[in-house]
């Protein structure tokens, strides 16, 4: 819940609601990117960005190296799979 997981923004799916499709360790999911959009970095420029996602919300932009290192760390801590499972099994699907 607290660690956050790196994800790359693939496409903007709903600009008004600040929703984007991201790739997290091979899993595609929609997240909210309102917190990383501002005047200097409008939403259409976000595609391709790496971000740190906490419970479905991108809270910061990170560089690709940082994203890779963090993914490796999460895998070593045994948290990567846990996060991906939580995403896939999220009750919303039911």
């Amino acid at each position: 819940m607290c660690l956050g997981i790196p994800a790359q923004i693939m496409a903007i799916t709903d600009a008004e609601r600040c929703m984007a499709k991201v790739n997290v360790g091979g899993v595609l999911r929609e997240v909210n990117i309102a917190c990383i959009v501002d005047e200097e970095h409008p939403i259409e420029q976000c595609v391709g960005d790496w971000t740190l996602v906490h419970v479905g919300f991108a809270l910061s932009r990170i560089d690709e190296d940082e994203a890779q290192r963090t993914l490796e760390l999460l895998a070593e801590l045994g948290e990567l799979q846990q996060e991906l499972d939580a995403m896939e099994r999220s009750g919303a699907a039911a």
């Binding site: 819940m1 917190c35 479905g56 963090t70």
Partner: protein
């Protein structure tokens, strides 16, 4: 030293380890007891155990594992409220998976689900909102917990629900705030802490300013720290460096993610939806002034506490639980009389045994029972 091989960059790790030992050697003549440095955040606790960081440190430095695991400080009375809510037939109760096994005085959410309550694990508060859209005939309640790291997400979800006019969605708000919790730890009369590693992801949201009183008023060095093992070693070195130079400030080791002013959009959303509570109870720490937030009056329709009658009882922890003393660093987990016996990860009595980020679970899972460490 056996763990150093596991660092991805073990040259850097060895270099940092040497640098830490050098600074500690300079400090040792001035010390009458080991320096105690608290890592506040459960995420850090996890990394410290995984990489055996304590074993790399000189005897003159002790790590104290702080209360920064939101699941671990959830009081029993709050879990009971969750269960009561979840048992209402019209309610779909949604929560992060971490909270499912926290014991209440009657049962945990997991047991409530086994007994027929509609409890669903979600990955994101947004998924709970999706459920509310799908099931207009039900009341979807999201169990909002966490420090400032998860607050933007719940605040933005409420704002979205309002925008769409969704009426069957509400938050059971149990968010807690970092700085007042650290202050409560600092105000303990028998406290011996000398410095802090502060949570990087909280700082990513709130910035550096809320931590400044700790250096200014309590004269404790504090370093905002990332989550890699090397981050933790580097931050420890930065804390020691402050001691050797007689400085006491807030420093940012995690500058690659943390902006000094935090995340403006996130802070704005938090400010719009939440306001500070006068006090909030944390398990093991008791009632702490201003340590929690509740929802502002204009979001009453989205506030489960106002929408549903809630028992809101304060329930005392079982007598032999010593979570409070562990959280404050007064005893080590294995010194709790029921550690590993009546209280273990399979059957947790205290919350510190529930989450992998809790100090007791970390000690237990890594086989520290007092002798080895």
């Amino acid at each position: 030293m056996k763990f150093v091989d596991e660092f991805r960059d073990n040259q850097k790790a060895q270099y940092l380890q040497r640098a830490i030992h050098e600074l500690a050697a300079q400090l040792e003549p001035t010390l009458s007891r080991p320096l105690q440095i608290m890592e506040f955040c459960g995420g850090h606790t996890h990394t410290i155990f995984r990489y055996g960081i304590e074993q790399m440190l000189p005897k003159s430095i002790e790590m104290v594992h702080g209360p920064g695991c939101p699941v671990c400080v959830l009081p029993m009375g709050r879990v009971d409220d969750c269960v009561t809510l979840a048992e209402r037939p019209e309610v779909i109760f949604t929560t992060f998976g971490d909270a499912m096994r926290v014991p209440g005085s009657r049962k945990s959410l997991l047991q409530a689900r086994a007994d027929g309550a509609d409890v669903r694990m979600v990955y994101s508060p947004m998924d709970a909102l999706t459920l509310a859209r799908k099931h207009p005939e039900r009341e979807v309640v999201f169990f909002a917990l966490g420090f400032e790291t998860t607050m933007p997400s719940t605040a933005l979800t409420v704002l979205q629900a309002e925008r769409e006019g969704i009426k069957n969605f509400s938050l059971f708000c149990n968010h807690i705030t970092t700085a007042p919790t650290i202050k409560a730890v600092l105000d303990e009369p028998d406290l011996m802490l000398d410095g802090f590693l502060a949570p990087g992801h909280v700082a990513m949201v709130i910035g550096l300013q809320p931590f400044e009183f700790i250096a200014r008023d309590y004269h404790k060095p504090l370093v905002i720290t990332g989550f890699e093992p090397l981050d933790i070693l580097q931050s420890l070195w930065m804390v020691l460096k402050q001691f050797t130079e007689n400085r006491c400030v807030v420093e940012n080791q995690y500058a690659r993610v943390v902006q000094p002013t935090g995340n403006q959009a996130g802070l704005q959303a938090i400010h719009n939806v939440f306001e500070t509570r006068e006090f909030f109870e944390l398990r093991g720490l008791g009632s702490i002034d201003h340590s929690g937030v509740s929802m502002r009056a204009n979001y009453t329709p989205y506030d489960a506490e106002r929408k549903f009658a809630m028992p809101n009882l304060t329930v005392t922890d079982p007598k032999d639980c010593q979570c409070g003393a562990v959280i404050k660093g007064l005893i080590k987990p294995w010194e709790c009389q029921i550690f590993g016996k009546k209280c273990n990860p399979e059957n947790p009595m205290g919350a510190l045994m529930v989450s992998s980020e809790g100090a007791c679970a970390a000690y237990y899972n890594h086989g520290y029972t007092g002798k080895a460490a």
